[in-house]
Structures are given as C-alpha cells and as structure tokens.
C-alpha cells in the first residue's frame, strides 16, 4: 500500500494537534475502586509539580473525606473558594467554575470526575466543568474509577450488581493527555477498608459492602488494567500512524447501530461504542422514524431521546432516517456511508406480523449481503424511562353508539327485507354495517360492532331463535368471518388514517419552514429579519422567544424579546454568552444547565455564529421529542442564514455608502477649492495692487479696488458660512429647538439681516393676518429664508415675492422671483449638494445653499420644492407641519398684578 500516510488523515492530525495545543492537558488518576489512593497520588504529583516545576497549582475541588494525609497535602495548596448553592433549602458547596476560570491557574485539581453537580450549576456533570477548563487552556488533574466509564457501565453493573449512575463519556478519557493508573491489590484495599482508611458514607454502607467483595475487586482491577492497556495500545497506534509506520492503514470500518425507543437500545449503543473503540472505527446510531411513529407515546419518545443522547455522548454520530421500511432505510444509509457492521437488538417479543414477514433482524440478515450483522441481546437499563402507565385513551362514546346503531339498523333491515330464510344476504347486511363502522371509527368500536352483529345475528336469525345457542356449527365460521372483516378493515383504516395524519404533520412542519423562508425573503435589514423569524418561531413552537446578538462593543445583547417575555435577564444573558462562545446549545433539555426553563440554541451560519436564540416553551416538555428538536434546529439554521445574509447586505450597503461619501468628499474638495480660490485671488490681487502702486492710482480706482475687496470677502464669508452650516447639519450637531413662532417674525428677521443687499430690490411680502403660530427653530428657518432670498437675488433682477399660506396642520412659505427660472428637469436636483443650475456666465457658488435649506426643512418634518412660475421665474417653497398643542396664553394682563385693560386699536 501507499508508503505515506493518507492526506486526509494528515489533515485530521494537524487539526487535532492545533486544538490540543490550545487546550489544557488533562491527566486522569484512574483506579479500580474507591480507596486505592487516587486523590492522594494526585495531590502528591501536583505538589511536586508546584515545588519542582514552580507551576501555578490550585485545588479546584478535593474530597478528602476528612482523611488525614490527603488533607495535609491540600494544606500546602491554594484552594478555589467554593460556591454555595441553595438547593431545596439545603446549602450545598459546589465547585465554582467561574471563579476558577477567573483565577486562571496553570494547573487545577478536580477530584471525582464523575461527580454530578447540584442543580443550578452551569453543567450537570463535573467532567463538563473540566472540559471547559481544558478549553480555556488550563491543565487539569482529575480522578475517577473504572466503574464510571460510560462504555463499561453495563459490564460493571453485571459484575458488581451495583448500578452506577454517574458516568463519564469515553471521549473524555480518550482526549485525556495521560491516564495514570493507580493500582492497589485487592487484599491491600480490603485491609485499608478494614482500617477505616476508605471513606464510606452512611447511606452507601450497604451497597458498599456488596461492592467491596474480593471477587468484585479482582474483576474491577482487571477491567481498569485492561482499559489502561487499551489506551496504551491506542497511543501506540497513533504513534505508528503519525510516523507512517502503519502500512495496512485504512481498515475504514464503519459501524451502524439501530436504535429504537426501547430501553434495550442503550445496551446496543454501548456495544457499538466498545466495538468501535476496538476497531477504531467511526460509528453511527441510526433511528428510523416511520411516518406512523407520530403516535410514539411520551415515555417512548423520551426514552428514544435518552438513547440518542447516550449515543452522542459516547461519540457516535446520531442519524434519524425516515421511511416506512426500516430495513430498507437502514441498509440504504449503510451502503451510502460504507458501513461494514450493523448492530441490532434481538427482538424480545415475537410480533404476529413478524411471523409472516420475518423480524427486522431476519430481514436485515437476508438483505445485508456484504455487511456483517451483529445481533445482541439486551437487558433494559436500570435508569430507563419507565413505561407510561398514564390514563388509557378515553372511551369514545360516539363510536360505540355508532356501532350499536349500525347493528340495530342491520338487524332491522335483515328482518324486514330478507327474513330468516336468506341468511347469506343478512350476513352481507351485517358486514356492510361493520364495514361502515370500522371505516370511520377506532379499532375498539369496530370489534364492538362485530361482536354486537354476531350476537344479534345469532339471536335473531340463527336457529334456535332468540337464544345465543348455535344449532349448526357452520354458523360459527360466519361469526369468525364477521370478526375478521371488522379487524382487517379497521386495521387498514387505522393505518391509512395515521399515515394521512403523519403526512399532515410533516406537511405542517414543511409548511412552517416554507413560511419562514418566504417571510425571511421579504424581510430587509437584520433587525427586521430577527423580528420576522422570532415571530414565526414564537407561533410555531408556542414559546416565548429572545434573540441575542453581538452589540457594537462586542458584548452580547438582547435584540429581540417576546412581548410577554419575562425571566431573569441577567442569567439569560450570561447563558447566551456561554452559548455564543462555545457554539453549543444550552438550557432546557441539553447537557448544559438543563434545569432552566429556556432552551438556548446557537444560530450558526456559514461564516460562524451570528446570534443565540432563546426559546421558553409554554410546556417544559415541548422539545422532548427528537422531531421537535430537529424542527427547532431547522428553524435556527434558516434564521441564522437569513441573519447572515442581512448582515452581509448591510455591510455591502455600508461600503457602498462609504464609497459614495468618498466621491462626495472629493467633489466637495474640488468645488470648494475652486470657489474659495476665486474670491481669494481677487482680494489678493486688489490688495496687492493697493499696497504696491497706491501712489500711482487715482482716488476713484482705489475706491473701486477696496470695494471689490469688501464684496469678495463678503462672498467668501457667505461661502464659508454655508460650508460650516452643511457640515454641522450633516454631523448632526445641530439641534432643532422648536418653539411656537410667528412667520412674520422670522420673515422680518431675515429681511433685517439682508437689509443692505435688499434695499435696492422690490420685495413684496404678503402674509395673511390669520397665519397661525408654528413650531420651528427661528435661527434655522431664518437661515432657510436667507438662503432662498439670496438665491433669488443671485439669479434674478426683478421684484422678489415672499408669500405664506396656511391649511390646517401646515404652513407654507414661498419665495418667488422673476428670473430665468429653473432648467427643465432640474427642479428636484437643485436641492442636491454641489448642484448648480448650469448657465453660461451665470453667478457662481458652491451650490450648498439649497441643500442646507432641504436639510433644515427635513429636520423640521416639512417638505421643500422648487418650480417654475407661469409667466417666468422660479419659486421655492417649503412647508412646516403644525404639530402639538399651541400653548394657551393668558393675555388678560393679569400678570404682575396689572389690572386687565382692553387693548385698543
């Protein structure tokens, strides 16, 4: 075979190496039974690390159970303060993960890896805490016994008769940097036990007595030794692979285990794990969901979820297939993935159907061809979900009434139409009745109908009449046929109905997803996308929804919450922060903080995580079923993709705008530099002429030059004023201070400001006397009027008209001239920045005046427009909305104690 390692394999190793380099190193002190001295050994090694290697070592948690020598060792080490959790009124001291993460030691000691944390901790299990510490790059020393190894759990239960509920996934052990076996011969251990050196709690006393039998201890020791040896073996293999020694690489075994909602499946899963461990093979846990499996009872679906979670924990890939033919589906998948071995359970009970078609096992074996099939028997797990003994489905009274009615009608018809001589026809009538009942009602009602019909038939038509005795035995066959027909028809109907129902359910799910994608397609902007998606999720899962996304400062913030969303916001935020950084789900029904009422799902898009979705269902068991969870995942995926898409679109838009701003800036620069230089050039020229040749100039020329300087500096001043105004308006530093003002006053102020330049022009002002007061900023609107008037001054020679009109809710002001007007089609563009109506030899300016007007009017919520007047000239108008209450004024002059006096004139 190939001399060099497979490139895929090399890549995998590089990725693993990289991950491992960042991760802390995990050393497990591994023993066969309690009391072999794991904790002691761990503390000793840790202390020597600290003293010799000068490493920063802290004790995360160590249960010394009051034993003297271990306690003494701890004395020299720093302890992470424990956290007190109030659980059902009892204070429990638990390991404080956050404190440990904040302390960031080089090495932390974590006793009892298999420990179950008190409810309310972040993770249900201590090994999960350890994983997080390792992920944070902290080295960990931990201890555990062989009976806590997940895949050995059932074997040990069989040997010792003690079921261990606290287990650690094999993957944790596999990823460990080192497994230190702490070995103590059983005799020595028993002696230690007798000497009271092994801590045994009072309630565990009885179990422990059984546990510490010599036979048990020998078996456990063997298991521990073997497990450690297997690991060495695996390391050897890894070494050989890494150095290209493995010539016969690519055994490429793939294992598939068929999982069902049965409690026996757990054993199968463990068997698959062990086999995959031995073969170093990838393995799949496959569940085939039949369309009719919709009717899975609550306990069955919980058991199924538990089985699949177990498989996931043990490192298997969980796959759910869908199809009516489980054998076909399993084999199809197996061939697709090159599965070489299939593990199935031995059927516990033989079902009637299996008699005819063969059981799943039979069919698998028959059709598997080159794939090996392993059949394993199983015991139900001790911690299996108890089968539900809940209330039986309620008796459907209308169905049974229908059965009675059908039977009565059949009997009546039989008697009236056919009589007792035409028995075959009567039987047909009865069969018709039974058929009608079974096609519409449940199995029970059909059988009931069959029973009633048989009874009525026997009573009324079969001699001897009006007794249930049967003279002719042939009639018994008739009865049997009637029952059979009822059973078959109702069975068929049931199946069709359940298939239809599951198809409906499926369609509903697909439709919900389709609805979501359709609505998302119509949503623009991330905010809207989140709202739309969240509203859909709310509806489909009848849950309260919260969406967390990163805010500007990098921290996570709640971007969306259902209207009636409540609950501890602080806690939600910290959980979602955890989900965000770990990209793993948390909360309700997951491995992390399973006790909470909310399920947190990471929103993973193609470019990574984009947010966290929090679902608080109305019923806590809402996401118990695999189907539901998959539905949630599907929604989350859709939502994440839409959010990513929206974000990308926003980013593109932002870049586009930036480019536009850049273009604008450059056009501003060129425009401004031209317009600033022209008056400056004139001023410089005129002033230098005055300085250099003042003597030779006559009085009139001198005056002409100085007047030019004055005019040009005024122009420069206007230009700079406009530039500054525009900058301020665009920077948003201008605050609109609206106060109730009179148009007359602002017109007067503008006229006053332009007095010098307007004195030679005919300005006609017409303001109706009943003009209401309007809320606006006097300074800003004065600026608008000044700019409009200056514009009229610049572009026309004739009279200028200023008019105001009012309609309810709005006041309009217009400034009109008799100039050449606006070129066609430029009416809207004149308000754009740096736009100037192009005219040969026309007046120059930066083209900001009208843009400023537009910005100011827009800030007031008004409109601005330009149009050509009939009969020539341009007219610029703007409107200001009248919003809010005019302040009530007391003008009776009662203020300051002055007596009211009627106003004259």
């Amino acid at each position: 075979m190939n001399e060099r390692p497979d490139p895929d394999e090399l890549l995998r190793r590089v990725v693993e190496q990289e991950k491992l380099e960042k991760r802390g190193k995990h050393t497990i002190f591994f023993g066969a039974a309690p009391g072999v001295g794991k904790t002691y050994a761990m503390l000793e090694v840790a202390r020597s690390e600290m003293e010799r290697e000068k490493r920063d070592v802290v004790v995360g948690i160590v249960e010394t159970h009051g034993r003297y020598e271990t306690g003494a060792l701890v004395l020299g080490l720093e302890l992470v303060p424990r956290r007190r959790i109030n659980y059902r009124g009892v204070g429990i001291d638990e390991f404080d993960l956050d404190a440990a993460l904040a302390r960031r030691p080089e090495l932390i000691l974590m006793d009892e890896l298999a420990h179950t944390n008190a409810e309310g901790s972040r993770h249900p299990k201590r090994w999960q805490d350890v994983e997080e510490l390792l992920d944070a790059g902290i080295d960990v020393f931990s201890t555990m016994n062989v009976q806590h190894v997940e895949s050995l759990n059932d074997v040990i239960a069989k040997i010792t008769g003690v079921v261990v509920r606290e287990t650690v996934p094999d993957s944790v052990l596999e990823r460990a940097h080192e497994l230190k076996l702490i070995d103590l011969p059983p005799d020595d251990l028993l002696e230690r036990l007798r000497d009271g050196k092994v801590y045994v709690s009072a309630q565990a006393q009885r179990a422990i007595e059984n546990f510490f039998r010599k036979g048990n201890l020998i078996a456990l020791r063997e298991l521990a030794l073997r497990h450690a040896a297997e690991r060495v073996d695996a390391q050897m293999l890894a070494y050989r692979r890494a150095h290209g020694i493995e010539q016969t690489w690519a055994t490429s075994d793939q294992i598939l285990v068929a999982v069902s909602p049965s409690p026996y499946s757990a054993r199968l899963i463990r068997a698959a794990r062990r086999m995959s461990g031995a073969l170093h093979a990838r393995w799949f846990a496959v569940f085939v969901e039949a369309p009719s499996a919709r009717g899975l009872s609550r306990s069955a679906s919980a058991q199924l979820a538990q089985n699949l979670r177990l498989a996931e924990r043990l490192g298997g890939e969980v796959v759910t297939l869908s199809g009516d033919d489980p054998t076909g589906e399993i084999l199809r998948f197996a061939r697709e993935r090159n599965v070489t071995k299939i593990i199935v359970g031995k059927p516990v009970t033989m079902r009637l159907r299996d008699r005819f078609r063969g059981s799943l096992v039979d069919r698998l074996v028959r059709r598997s061809r080159d794939i090996d099939v392993y059949v394993t028997a199983g015991d139900p797990e001790q911690n299996a979900v108890a089968p539900e003994t809940g209330p039986a489905p309620p008796l459907q009274v209308p169905s049974y009434l229908a059965a009675i009615v059908a039977c009565a009608v059949s009997t009546g018809l039989g008697l009236l139409v056919f009589g007792r001589d035409q028995l075959p026809d009567v039987v047909m009538i009865y069969l018709l009745g039974i058929m009608l009942v079974s096609s519409r009602h449940a199995f029970g009602a059909s059988i009931f109908a069959a029973f009633l019909s048989v009874a009525a038939f026997d009573y009324c038509f079969v001699p001897p009449y009006f007794t249930f005795a049967v003279a002719d035995l042939r009639h018994v066959v008739t009865f049997a046929v009637m029952f059979l027909v009822a059973a078959v028809i109702s069975g068929l109907t049931q199946r069709v109905r359940s298939q239809a129902e599951s198809a409906r359910e499926r369609e509903k799910r697909t439709l919900a997803l389709y609805d979501l994608s359709r609505e998302l397609a119509g949503a623009h902007g991330s905010r809207r996308v989140i709202e739309v998606a969240a509203a859909q999720v709310e509806r489909v899962f009848s849950s309260q929804v919260a969406v967390f996304t990163p805010l500007g400062n990098g921290a996570l913030g709640k971007t969306y919450a259902s209207a009636d969303h409540h609950g501890p916001a602080e806690r939600d935020l910290s959980v979602s922060q955890w989900v965000w950084s770990s990209c793993q789900e948390a909360g309700l029904g997951t491995a992390t903080l399973p006790g909470g009422p909310t399920l947190f799902v990471p929103l993973m898009a193609s470019g990574g995580i984009v947010g966290v979705l929090g679902l608080t269902p109305e019923q806590a068991d809402r996401f118990g079923s695999i189907t539901q969870r998959r539905q949630v995942d599907a929604f989350a995926a859709q939502m994440a993709l839409a959010m990513e898409r929206a974000e990308l679109a926003e980013e593109t838009e932002r870049i586009r705008r930036e480019v536009e701003t850049e273009q604008l800036r450059s056009s501003l620069l060129s425009s401004v530099s031209h317009d600033l230089r022209t008056p400056l050039a004139v001023i410089t020229g005129a002033a230098s002429t005055l300085v250099e040749s003042s003597k030779s100039l006559d009085e009139a020329t001198r005056l002409d030059l100085t007047t030019t300087i004055l005019e040009e500096s005024e122009r420069l001043n206007r230009l700079i004023r406009n530039l500054l105004d525009m900058t301020r308006l665009e920077a948003g530093t201008v605050k609109v201070k609206k106060e109730w003002q009179f148009i007359e006053e602002v017109v007067g102020a503008a006229m006053n400001r332009l007095e010098a330049r307007l004195s030679e022009r005919d300005v006609r002002i017409s303001l109706p006397p009943d003009l209401p007061s309007v809320p606006f900023d006097l300074v800003l609107i004065e600026q608008v009027l000044i700019n409009l008037l200056e514009n009229a001054l610049k572009y026309s020679d004739g009279p200028i008209e200023v008019r105001a009109t009012s309609v309810p809710g709005e006041v309009t002001v217009e400034v009109a001239d008799h100039g050449p007007g606006i070129p066609d089609g430029e009416e809207a563009r004149v308000f754009e920045k740096f736009h100037r109506a192009v005219r040969e030899g026309g007046p120059s300016g930066v083209g900001l005046g009208l843009a400023i007007c537009r910005a100011i009017v827009a800030a007031h919520g008004g409109r601005i427009w330009a149009r050509n007047r009939e009969g020539g000239g341009a007219s610029f108008g703007f409107s200001l909305p009248i919003e809010g209450e005019v302040p009530k004024l007391d003008l009776s002059e009662a203020l300051e104690g002055s007596p009211p006096e009627p106003a004259h004139g």
Partner: protein, 231 residues
C-alpha cells in the same frame, strides 16, 4: 467729553484683528489699551479703568464669559462682546452675565462703531435721564406715558407699554429674552417666551408701518430683541 476721548480696552488674541481694530478705532478718535489674554485684560481693566471693553469670547487662557462675570463684579463700563456666528448660546450667556451688546464676526467697521457709540451714549444718558425717545415716526414720551406714531396717539396695553419702555431703556442694544421677561413680567417668569413673541407682534402691528419688515423693533434670532436708535 471734550477733555479726553474715551478709552477702549480691546481684548483679542488675534494680532491681525487687533491691528484692524487699532486702525479703525484710532481713526474714529478713541484711545486704546490692548490685551491678548483674559488675565492681562482683567489687570489692565483694573489699572486703566477703560470707558468700554471690546471683548472677544474665544480667548486662549479663559473664556470671555468668565472675564465678563469678573469685570461685572466691580466695573460698570459697557462690555461689547465679539463672537463667531452660530454661537447664540455664548452670546446669551455673555449678555445675561452682564455684557451690553455683541457683534458677530466678521463685521464691518461701521457696525462696530455704531455699537460703541450706542454703548457710550447709554452710559451718558442714564446719568441725564432722557425722557423722550424718538426714532423715525415713533415718539415715546416716557415722562407722560405717551406713545405717538406720526403724532397720533397709540393706545398700548400696560404690558406692551412696559415692554416698550424696557427696550427703550436699553435702546440700540440687544436685550435677551430672559432680561425682557424678568423686567416686564417679574423674576419668576423666564420661561414665558411665548408671551414675549405675542406682545412683540402686537407692538409691531401698532408701531411699525410694515410689521413684516420692521424698521424699529428688530428680532435678534435666538438671542432677543433690539430697538433701533436714531443715528
């Protein structure tokens, strides 16, 4: 005033501005003291007791507002503030702190000299107690409480009359909304600007020939009002 021309303290940090002011003011017959910083300005003011202070609000060491306040602690000399456009808040603060008037940069020399004249005349008139105010067609006899337009008597409500007299008291100078409200309506009514606008409108309609192009009663947007004087 024959004995000696008025002394003006110019507080301005820009050398070119000082140069222009020096030429303009000396040409009009005023004597000058110059100062570049707020600290120096206060010392000069104490040492030379100027008749008028021309104060730029943007100084390098302290803002002009503080200088105004410190000066007003002991001096009654009129203060004219020079400020940039768009800083209406600064103007109001300075006026409320005791400045008498303001000019906005850039300004023509005519405007500045007019303001200076008004300010100086005011110091003189408050001493003489002039009782008749005349501008254009408007004549107000403060002693007899008579308001005449083209010699026709105009009836004003007590508040409108009071408002007019306050403006006349500060004739030629800007009066901030707050000052007006305080002097007309009393100390607790400084948020009744709406009344002010209504009465100003009333006054204009009764006294001005064209109220939307007022010749006497001028609005200083964002700051206050001013009644012009006969030049």
């Amino acid at each position: 005033m024959a004995e000696q021309s008025p002394l003006i303290l110019v507080v301005e940090d820009e050398a070119q501005m000082r140069r222009f002011l020096r030429v303009a003011l000396k040409n009009d017959g005023y004597r000058l003291v110059e100062s570049e910083t707020a600290k120096d300005a206060l010392e000069q003011a104490a040492a030379r007791s100027p008749d008028l202070v021309l104060l730029d609000l943007g100084l390098p060491d302290q803002d002009g507002l503080t200088v105004t306040e410190r000066l007003r602690e002991w001096s009654a000399a009129p203060i004219i503030v020079i400020s940039a456009r768009g800083r209406e808040e600064d103007k109001i603060k300075a006026l409320d702190a005791g400045a008498d008037d303001y000019v906005t940069k850039p300004f023509g020399v005519g405007e500045l000299l007019a303001r200076i004249r008004v300010a100086l005349r005011h110091t003189a008139s408050s001493a003489t107690g002039d009782s008749v105010f005349v501008i254009g067609d408007l004549k107000v006899d403060l002693g007899r409480r008579l308001v005449l337009v083209r010699d026709k008597e105009i009836h004003l409500t007590p508040i409108a009359y009071k408002l007019l007299t306050v403006l006349i008291k500060h004739a030629g100078r800007v009066v901030t909304h707050r000052q007006l409200l305080r002097e007309v309506w009393g100390p607790n009514s400084s948020d009744h600007t709406q009344y002010l606008r209504v009465y100003m409108g009333q006054l204009r309609h009764k006294l001005e020939e064209n109220p939307s192009r007022p010749a006497y009663l001028v609005t200083e947007p964002g700051v206050g009002y001013r009644i012009r004087t006969q030049e």
